[in-house]
Amino acid sequence: MSQFFMAILIIVFGGFLALIFARQAKLMKLIAVFSLSAGCLLGVIDAWIKLMGSDIHTASFSFLRVFSLGFQIDGLSAFFLFAIFLVSLLATLYSFHYMDHAQAPLRVAVNYFFFSLLIAAMALVVSSSNIISFMFSWEIMSLSSFFLVIYHYESAENRRAGYLYFVFSHVGAMFIFVAFGIVYGLTGSFDFTAMGALTETAKYLVFVFSFIGFGSKAGVFPFHVWLPHAHPAAPSHISAVMSGVMIKTGIYGIIRVYALLDCNTPVFGYIVLVAGVVSGILGVVYALGQQDLKRMLAYSSVENIGVILIGLGIGMVGVSQGNPLMAVLGFAGCFFHILNHSLFKSLLFMGAGMVLHKTGTRAIDALGGLLKNMKITGATFIIGSLAISGLPPFNGFVSEFFIYVGAFKGIALGETAFVMCILAIVGLAVIGGLALACFTRVIGVVFQGEPRTSAAVDVNEKGATMLISMLILAGACLFIGVFPGTLIYMPMKAVSALGLVYGNIPLEPFYRMTGNITQSAMILSAVVLGVIALRSFFYRGKTIGKSGTWGCGFTQPTPKMQYTGSSYAGSILEFFSAAAPLTIEHPPISGRFPLKTYYKSRINDIAELHMGTFIVRPVLFFFDKLRWIQHGDIHLYIGYILLAIILLLFFI
């Protein structure tokens, strides 16, 4: 454990140093980046080692004399720790050049301080083993990430985002409080392991409450409202960390609670699976409709959380149906996707950050043709998009493949499970298709074609550390996609840490699957090479002409004429208009000499709409009705005293 805590100490210490040296911006940044990345590196190595080994590390500190802060690192924790430290490491690297022309050095220092706190808190969350330490680190995590979200607090939009996030995280924490309160109330122990001893109904309650609580952090569909506001608001390396790993702590919570409850009812599986399918499909649909690059990425995180939950649900159903292969496949796919998503989502956010940093805008329809000047950014972004669409030979495909196979295993099962598996498979298929549409849209509109506004005209991609971390991530995506076998043991360790009844899982069948993937990836690349060879053979000694795009007879094409992202997505959104109502603002063209008109369209998140109408407004109404209490008339006030006494005297 000592290395682990050492890493955390180094990180937090770095944060403090940043505050101390806030005056000299350059020095401060150097120190902060160095110590943070050093800590993260140590953490990654430590997590890797723990993941290799199979023994469980524990540590416990006495707290307020009677209580204790317990920490425990098993396979599951180690797996998450690995992802957390890895992504944080790269994000820290990235931040070095990203935070360069930030306005006030003090603010940057504060940002680094809370960033370090966030990393530490996330690490502690996934490694704490009793209620107190868990809630403690959980709240620290929420608080620090809140400060990171409102980094650019000048814009009202970001303030609103911060507020939403703050409230959601607190309310979510309250739900978790309830769940743990039930646990403590019935067992009288703060220890996580006590959960196993609960009664059946209590387990249901605990699971549901904690699912809501953790779901609100993870961004599961109805509770995701804060996410698309908060992630764009934060600086991009923060968004990368938040979207890449922080929301995964919610998933961790769900998995951990499930494992501890150790109650193999199918219901849990069904809940998780349905939630997964819903948030997966709706998430990607909303993503398709976004006009803000980072918002779109945020929604795609909702989608990927959905995919992860589908895998989890498959696993749970498999457990409840006594189908080991299905269970392990589902869980393995879930874990694999957690890792993969943390890689390619942070990659994409970094790419978006680069775009934002250089062009100064996040509006998709304002960009275009960036690929010409931002080769590396563009290429890595394309790789990220391929990966997130789950296309071979990239890592997204591997996890989805596992989940698919697991789900198909469930087809052979009885009624409900069968329906659930159909739901999962079709859901995954639709998600895949939509994701493809979504990311082709982004690439096509942002990186290809011609610049739509002056913002995108002559840009560059300076900033070595930013490029490096993006390249590393892109490389990782490709590597895992081609050689998943090399990393298969990581999710497997996590799965075996769930304490399923199967003892130690035989890795052989999974190695065969990954082997097949590798083989087919090889085939594909071979064929591609062959075709390239063929092409170059055909082009040998040919004249390559250059000219404008063929305008189908139209002679003066302008960048304005390009297909915009909105129009690209239009027809698909129409199909989903029930779940994603589209508000269109478009004064009709009228008169013989029509005046200038415009077209604005915005996609509405039904969860957000209904939160307003069904929760916020009634609550405010109720409390407004109560406000007359403080009426200002002293006679009334003295009357209250009398009233209180008289009422109480009845109970004597």
């Binding site: 004399r65 608080l143 309160g181 109330g185 609550v619 003295i638």
Partner: protein
């Protein structure tokens, strides 16, 4: 010679009325220091008082005494700087009443005789009334009037309650000194009906002072009209003193085996207070009133925890300590805000993060602490209260509790975001309001002196440290106090 602790400030207070400003300020700080030292000494060895059937050194008393003297010392330092910034017409009255206030509150913590306790608490009302009327405005006058009358009436009820307890002794014909400790001993023999009646009156009486809904009505007015150091004292310490009275009576009830009766009442009033706080925080327009309502909320939390007992009672005491620390720091920060923005309305504040960074740090940290975020102690307290509530099977109560906490947080956070980050200069009506034209650049004519921010920092730091390490003596005292009402770990 315990009595010296409240006699010293009494004397100095009387002196302060006749001394010129500057000396008065020094006197304030000096007395604060002496008081702190004295109470620390008392903490070291719990010497017996001279009039031992009137006064006694009880664990809960010691706890609040320590809190009082620490707070008063820091607040007095702040007050010195604060008085420099503002020009009060009758400053010596202010300082004098501050000191008298201190002495009366100290007396409350030390008093053991129920009547003496009543005298002391009534005396706190009288001593603090001038503080609220410091600014001599019509609003402050109204606030004082309400404070004085409502609290007097409430406390009269408490007096009746104490009388009824003596009656309970007569009816149960027991003969014992009228001290809490003695009564706790003979509680079994007291006549339950009259005891219950006594408790009801005392709860409502002292509850008025403590700010439990629906008797809380004076609290927001008084807190918002009083100068901020006074508000800090009122909400940081005075409420605890009133709570002490209830706590001790609850102790008797528990000893008499009527713990459930009083506990249930406490829970109900606690929840009502929290709901009331939620009602008014959600759309609050003045930041000082908002803080006042948050005090009501916290008093509700404390009452709730006390009523539930068990681990929750432990949590309640922790909440009490940390609430005093954090809330007083918040009120001191609000004093800076008033100096800076010259206005109590939230809509006329804004962008504190860049205008008054030091104050902002204190204020936001205080907000985080008060709404139960680690690493501040209230987090621990609330955690214990919630799990304790579940432990004792108060599921519905816990549900209401948590729900209203969520609402309060939503409202509070909304206002705090406006104060800290929103920029009122950019508002479209900026041209209409002269106040906003006054500082077009958004800069404010106010320099954050060290002595205007360090007290807050120290208070918060104390809370932060107490969240991790709790000195053994303190821990013992808390446990001792809590076990008397059937609380404690497990």
């Amino acid at each position: 010679m315990v009595e010296i602790i409240f006699l010293a400030p009494f004397v100095t207070g009387l002196l302060a009325f006749f001394l010129p400003k500057t000396i008065g300020r020094q006197l304030l700080v000096g007395t604060g220091a002496i008081h702190l030292i004295l109470s620390l000494l008392l903490w070291k060895n719990r010497s017996v008082p001279i009039f031992e059937n009137y006064f006694a050194v009880t664990p809960e008393g010691l706890l609040s005494l320590l809190v009082i003297s620490l707070l008063f010392f820091l607040i007095s330092i702040y007050t010195m700087a604060y008085l420099k910034e503002t020009d009060l017409k009758s400053e010596n009255i202010f300082t004098g009443s501050m000191l008298l206030f201190l002495s009366t509150m100290t007396m409350v913590t030390l008093s053991d005789h129920i009547m003496v306790m009543w005298i002391a608490i009534e005396a706190t009302t009288l001593a603090s009334a001038p503080l609220i009327y410091t600014y001599r405005t019509s609003a402050s006058l109204e606030a004082t009037w309400k404070y004085l009358l409502i609290c007097s009436v409430g406390i009269a009820m408490a007096l009746l309650g104490t009388v009824l307890i003596t009656l309970a002794m007569d009816v149960g014909n027991v003969d014992a000194p009228l001290s809490f400790s003695a009564l706790t001993g003979v509680a079994k023999d007291l006549d339950p009906m009259w005891l219950k009646a006594g408790f009801v009156f005392i709860l409502v009486g002292y509850g008025t002072k403590m700010g439990l809904a629906p008797m809380h009505t004076w609290l927001p007015d008084a807190h918002s009209e009083a100068p901020s150091p006074a508000s800090a004292l009122l909400s940081g310490v005075l409420l605890n003193c009133a709570y002490l009275g209830i706590f001790k009576t609850h102790k008797i009830m528990h000893a008499a085996g009527l713990g459930d009766f009083s506990g249930t009442i406490l829970i109900v009033f606690g929840l009502m207070s929290i709901l009331a706080a939620a009602t008014f925080i959600l759309k609050q327009k003045e930041y000082k009133r908002m803080l006042a309502y948050s005090s009501i909320e916290n008093m509700g939390i404390i009452a709730f925890g006390t009523g539930i007992g068990g681990l929750a009672a432990y949590g309640a005491v922790i909440c009490m300590i940390h609430h005093s620390l954090i809330k007083s720091s918040l009120f001191l920060s609000s004093g800076n805000m008033l100096l800076g923005y010259k206005d109590r309305l939230i809509e006329n504040t804004g962008n504190m993060a860049s205008r008054m960074p030091k104050t902002f740090v204190a204020f936001f940290a205080g907000f985080a602490g008060i709404s139960g975020f680690p690493p501040f102690g209230i987090f621990i307290g609330e955690l214990f209260i919630i799990v304790g509530a579940f432990k004792t099977g108060h599921y519905v109560a816990a549900g209401i509790f948590i729900l209203s906490m969520c609402f309060i947080f939503a409202g509070f956070a909304n206002q705090v975001m406006k104060i800290s980050f929103a920029d009122f200069i950019n508002k479209d009506d900026a041209s209409t309001d002269p106040k906003k034209i006054a500082d077009p650049a958004g800069t404010i004519p106010f320099k954050e002196k060290a002595s205007l921010v360090w007290p807050q920092y120290i208070l918060l730091l104390t809370s932060l440290i107490l969240c991790f390490f709790i000195p053994d003596t303190l821990y013992q005292a808390i446990i001792e106090a809590v076990t008397a009402i059937g609380g404690g770990i497990k």
